[in-house]
């Protein structure tokens, strides 16, 4: 028990760092859900693209890191836009089941595409500033500060976008009532396109700061964890995602840490924690910890 308490600062640091990534992915889920009513099962693959593109541009092509990062985010955003035009727009009148299967298909497709071009198990995306520093009770990589800083910046930008810009307000209108939005002259299908571009950019950003490693297989995990974060925060509540992501990040470190240090359970079970939290939250508090009540149309 003492050992566990001694490790706590380290768990908190790791949990916050991972939590920030989940915040970005979860915001992507929510933005798409709000404007189209779809849960995009390929959301995690946007993170994969972010990481792999950053690797390709920074390491293989040798561009300076800030430029490579920016281009990687833009390229991922483009992937999101293409996906929306090619697949989501034609399915705009289809049912939930169809949308689920199509986005699952897209996720498998992206994952394999990543595997064809980047077949190894792991690619080391360079850190913005390598090295670590010590806090009382925890060793933290310097990347950690970048992760927190960039997440704060992304959340702030998204907030400004939704509260101050015309396009952002139009997207919020879509999430309230799509038909009414159409009637006041908002181009709903264009908003759907914007939401995919924005969500892909956020996912890509998460992927490229999730250094040190990116791989073709990271999408599924990122997707499930990001979705869990968005459900914990209340699906569709864009800023609930911030709380949800951080809570999930912390729980994901603390629960396995406790089980391993105190009860001696193998660390291999860590992969199941997020999925179990997801199922538990869906069953017992589907509206999320701070969600508004869920209304289901029949």
């Amino acid at each position: 028990m003492l050992d566990f308490l001694r490790n706590c600062p380290q768990y908190l640091a790791n949990g916050l760092a991972n939590g920030c990534l989940y915040v970005l992915v979860a915001m992507g889920f929510n933005i798409i859900y709000n404007s189209t009513g779809i849960i995009n099962f390929a959301q995690g693959e946007f993170s994969m693209f972010g990481g792999l593109f950053a690797y390709a541009l920074a390491v293989s092509a040798g561009l300076p890191l800030p430029l490579a990062a920016l281009l990687a985010v833009l390229a991922t955003a483009a992937v999101g836009g293409i996906m929306e035009r090619a697949m989501i727009y034609p399915l705009r009148r289809a049912g939930v089941l169809t949308a689920i299967i199509a986005t699952v298909g897209a996720s498998i497709f992206f994952k394999s595409l990543g595997r064809v071009f980047w077949p190894s198990e792991a690619y080391k995306v360079p850190e913005f500033t390598p090295g670590t520093f010590r806090l009382p009770g925890a060793t933290v990589s310097r990347q950690f500060l970048w992760v927190i800083g960039l997440t704060v910046i992304c959340v702030a930008l998204v907030y400004v976008f939704f509260s101050r810009t015309r396009a952002g307000k139009a997207m919020r209108a879509c999430s309230v009532n799509r038909q009414a939005a159409t009637l006041v002259g908002i181009n709903v299908s264009r908003m759907s396109l914007y939401s995919f571009i924005l969500a892909a950019a956020l996912g890509g950003a998460a992927g490229l700061i999730s250094a040190p490693f990116a791989s073709y297989g990271m999408g599924l995990e990122m997707g499930v964890k990001g979705f869990t974060a968005s459900v914990v925060g209340g699906l569709g509540n864009t800023f609930g995602a911030v709380v949800g992501g951080l809570v999930l990040g912390l729980l994901e470190e603390l629960i396995p840490g406790f089980l391993t240090v105190v009860l001696g359970v193998s660390t291999g079970y860590k992969g199941a924690v997020a999925a179990i939290i997801l199922i538990a939250v869906l069953l017992f508090r589907p509206q999320g910890l701070l969600g508004r009540g869920m209304v289901e149309k029949v």
Binding site: I38, I39, F41, M87, Y89, P90, L91, R92, A94, V96, L97, T98, I100, I101, A102, V104, G105, A106, S107, I108, F109, F110, K111, S112, L113, R115, V116, P119, Q179, T182, S189, L220, V224, F227, V231, S266, G268, Y269, G271, A272, A274, A275, I276, L278, I279, L282, L283, P286, E296, V298
Partner: protein, 375 residues
């Protein structure tokens, strides 16, 4: 009413009309109203006699692959009941397949059960696990899809980590071949043929059962769920009970398929039962056509043969394209494209698309890009 053998024929059932009694009645009327079934049975029964002549020139071991098709048919038909007929998505069905495989394999390897006892045990265990996780059925749509995906992940992690039981990543070896009491099936001369017949007899029985089930009273209740749960409830359908029933049945069928699979492979490990398998099963259901029993068969055939055809390509072309060697890398691209393109251009699947084309002389494709009002 889809899939009816002859349009306009009223299918009357007496009181109750549960799946079992209707299966008995169905068996009696087999000769009269199921020519397709008899045809398929005869065709499949005779297939090994001529398949070998085709296998060599094609470079595809047909009988060997058809065994797998039979196994996947059993699982896909169960998933189709759940997804196509009852409208409940499951992205974790590979886990039930895995549970069946592990149950039978463990009983046979560690407790020395004969396979013909291990496989029924696999069905029972998979059904019980299905019953245990049935609370997720309170969820709908996206939530249900994500929750079942999560269940699949949890299953995989546990199979990998419970090394004392499952052997972890090293898997289980020396699983005995199929057998019936006093009769070896998976050994000796022509063992592939014997396994093939064994599997397809079971698969056809499963198909017959499901065929009658969807026409029975509970089958109609199940299909009512798909349209509208509220309307079904109003009409007196016990919605949550019907959902649990179909979920447990589809889990049991996946377990049956998994149990057989373990014995024809002789070796299993957790990596065989990941999300990839779940997606494969979903692809079979979607491609063949949801809400269609024959669709599940068609889907199983198509999805199982694609990799074999790709592997045989060099033999046909006389040269080896570089990318064939790493087929597993491309597998996902093919599945992903199939799923997306089917949903966009042929949302009701191959069987429906083709039968519409034949009976109404219209294109099997839809044009989703056509603009309409309010776009």
């Amino acid at each position: 009413m889809r899939d009816t053998p002859e349009d306009g024929k009223v299918l009357r059932y007496g009181k109750g009309g549960g799946p079992l009694s209707s299966a008995v009645r169905g068996a009696l009327s087999l000769v009269r109203s199921y020519p397709v079934f008899l045809g398929l049975g005869v065709f499949l029964g005779l297939l090994p006699l001529w398949a070998d002549y085709l296998s060599r020139p094609l470079g595809i071991p047909i009988v060997m692959v058809m065994r797998l098709v039979g196994i996947y048919t059993i699982a896909a038909v169960g998933l189709n009941l759940l997804m196509g007929y009852a409208g409940q998505v499951s992205l974790g069905h590979g886990a039930f397949f895995g549970i069946g495989a592990y149950t039978s394999a463990l009983l046979c390897v560690k407790a020395h059960f004969p396979p013909w006892l291990g496989i029924p045990a696999a069905v029972v265990v998979a059904a019980l696990v299905g019953l245990a996780v049935a609370p997720v059925l309170r969820l709908r749509g996206h939530y249900l899809a994500m929750a079942t995906l999560g269940l699949g992940m949890v299953f995989f992690v546990f199979m990998r980590e419970m090394t004392w039981l499952t052997g972890g990543n090293d898997g289980l070896r020396n699983i005995p071949p199929l057998s019936l009491p006093g009769l070896a099936v998976g050994e000796g001369r022509n063992y592939l043929r014997k396994e093939y017949h064994f599997i397809w007899v079971i698969a056809l029985l499963v198909l017959l059962f499901c065929f009658n089930l969807v026409r029975s009273r509970s089958g109609r209740a199940m299909r009512a769920l798909h349209q509208s749960e509220v309307a079904a409830e109003v009409m007196g359908v016990d919605v949550s009970w019907e959902k649990i029933k179909v979920f447990v049945l589809s889990a049991a069928l996946a377990g049956l398929a998994g149990g057989i699979f373990a014995h024809i492979q002789g070796y299993i490990d957790p990596n065989l039962f990941t999300i990839v398998l779940s997606i494969q099963l979903v692809t079979m259901v979607v491609v063949g056509g949801m809400e269609s029993i024959w669709g599940a068969v068609a889907g199983a055939v198509v999805i199982t043969f694609i990799p074999k055809v790709v592997e045989a390509l060099p033999k046909w072309l006389g040269e080896v394209p570089r990318w064939v060697e790493k087929y597993s890398n491309y597998e996902g691209i093919i599945y992903g494209l199939i799923l997306v393109l089917t949903m966009v251009f042929m949302p009701s699947g191959i069987t429906k698309g083709l039968s519409d084309m034949i009976s109404y002389r219209r294109s099997p494709f839809v044009n989703p890009f056509r603009r309409r009002a309010l776009d």
